[in-house]
Symmetry: C2
Subunit: 356 residues, 2 copies
């Protein structure tokens, strides 16, 4: 199968080879060294300020989103949260569940965030800002420099879900003044799902230390303490952590995060140019590099997903809810090439021909 979903995505050969090996015992100095190296590489690739740390969570991205809300924020906070799709909605639900007062900026599906949404919220008593840098459910990339300026001007803690944008779209914690960055193993890291990662700035770390733990499994204090010696409090997905380490080292050797972002950008542009001959519309005027959302006309987006899967051996990403029949998504994350883009566009052409 050729996989154009937004995760799990296709892994490179080196990562897959590790998946085929026995998983080693991990309470060893050898595994600790691997983890400490991964932390150093993650901090560098995220542009994290000096003194930042990384938590490696055996959990989906949602697990790390929840751990962040629980460990970094308290009911004394007042947060702004951008809700432009399923993942923004998830942040809202987490804030509700954990009793964090918040103001929701509700956007239409596919709508970019604009100055006009932020301006009325300036100069108030907000303390934090939560945003999915890429709202993966619609493929929208929010304007991070604009958000960064707003947070700096208003002294807000900036929490960024970069699950589908880290290594795919330009991002620099220090330049943006971001305090938390969350990502997952199965997006641009192109490893199997099962691990999510939280990068915490010194300001976020102070908050974690001062906070009261209400979960053992999602307790970042425990993760940070064990992480000092390259370990985790509980048995992690050891195999996936070894794959992440290999992938981080490979990215480093191939030119670092800039080269990887450039590759993702090239793949996205190549697909969008090739697909422009087909009668689909780009769903958002502000697409992220990792995923292209396409609006269909006269043909069910979900049927296209099913036909590509069953007849062509190609996965694209369907949408749920009200977008189910109108929007499909094509991911550009993972071990894909421009030739793969051509294969997909030809298959789409074929599907449309047979549908007419």
């Amino acid at each position: 199968m050729l996989n154009f979903t937004v995760g799990p995505v296709m892994s490179g050969e080196a990562v897959r080879a590790i998946g085929g090996e026995q998983v080693p015992y991990f309470r060893t100095p050898e595994f600790s060294e691997v983890m400490l190296e991964s932390e150093r590489l993650m901090l560098r690739f995220a542009g994290a300020p000096a003194g930042s740390r990384v938590c490696f969570m055996t959990a989906s991205g949602t697990g790390s989103m929840e751990a962040t809300v629980m460990n970094v924020l308290t009911p004394a906070d007042k947060a702004i949260v951008v809700n432009g799709g399923s993942f923004g909605e998830r942040f809202v639900q987490l804030l509700q569940l954990h009793g964090i007062p918040h103001h929701e900026i509700k956007l239409d599906y596919g709508q970019p965030l604009a100055e006009e949404h932020l301006a009325p919220l300036a100069g108030q008593d907000f303390t934090a800002f939560l945003v999915n840098m890429g709202e993966t459910s619609t493929g929208v990339l929010y304007d991070m420099p604009m958000i960064s300026r707003f947070c700096r001007d208003n002294g807000l803690l900036l929490i960024v879900d970069a699950i589908s944008t880290f290594l795919a779209d330009p991002f620099d914690m220090e330049a943006l003044g971001a305090d938390v960055m969350i990502t997952g193993s199965q997006k641009a890291l192109a490893c199997p799902p099962g691990i999510s990662l939280i990068v915490l700035s010194p300001r976020a770390l102070q908050r974690v230390e001062a906070n009261h733990s209400v979960s053992m499994y999602l307790d970042l204090k425990l993760a940070l303490k064990n992480g000092e010696r390259g370990q985790t409090p509980f048995t992690p997905a050891v195999g996936t952590l070894l794959q992440i380490n290999r992938r981080l080292r490979d990215i480093d050797a191939a030119g670092g995060v800039e080269a990887e972002v450039a590759r993702m950008s090239m793949l996205a542009r190549d697909f969008r140019q090739k697909v422009s001959v087909l009668p689909f519309q780009l769903f958002s005027p502000s697409p992220q590099n990792g995923v292209t959302s396409m609006l269909t006309k006269g043909v069910s987006a979900y049927d296209i997903f099913t036909t590509l899967k069953d007849r062509y051996g190609i996965w694209i990403c369907p949408n749920g809810g009200e977008l189910r029949d109108r929007v499909f998504r094509v991911g550009h994350l993972g071990a894909l090439t421009t030739d793969d883009n051509t294969t997909l566009v030809n298959a789409l052409l074929d599907v449309l021909k047979n549908a007419c």
Copy 2:
């Protein structure tokens, strides 16, 4: 490396082959079918009563222990908890953290649970009983039929951490009247770590439904609802779930849970007989099949672990805390053979010779 730890353990070839493949997209009918089949096999292997369900959590065993405490119990409960080592201690900490009143039966390391511990607790207002069927940190197997009788006589909900005993020691939820069984992917299931599983009886399911959710990621209501159609609420460790499915089907084809338990029992007996010529003592009079804890004399248990790792390419399992230099553990879970036992005993003989 030859791996005699208690997890991650060695996987068979079929499981490893899946680890080397691309991870498929999972919001498909095909993946749902796999998950529903895994649930059926898990229910059968656990001897779960009719109407039971399984939650597949992308989390370590501790994540599922916490999810159980949070979703099945409430502050209106009054629990008895057996604490004979690190994992009993973990249950105690989870009950404390989540405000569940409890009485702790504190045992010495390696000490079996006896009637005299239970008798004084009969006829009181307890509602639940939590036990690690095998206290993996010391290798003690608790007397489950005795615990079962006590719970039945006193109308207690029985919650069993079977993380290191499921498929290794005889266990039958219905026969024991157990309401919750927790296990993990990296023990006798012999898959990579990253998934833990919770089997819930109808009585436990009723409690979950009636309970208030205080975590999204560890919310069993969400897991159960998505599980009805063979899905999970969040992106799970898809690759590991496919490996678990393959392993469950392989166990089924090879004679089912009875044959697997017999194999584990045979491997444990074979090792204990071979190692009896060496100057170690069995640490517990009631060992579980999955692990043998050995007491050393005149030589550091931790040094034996290090020497076997660095010079012989063999991992055994060290202990932490006060047992660090006195006790090492040899696991029998996973793709091990009697020849591997011989290799280990010969290496131990060699280490002792050189230590003298």
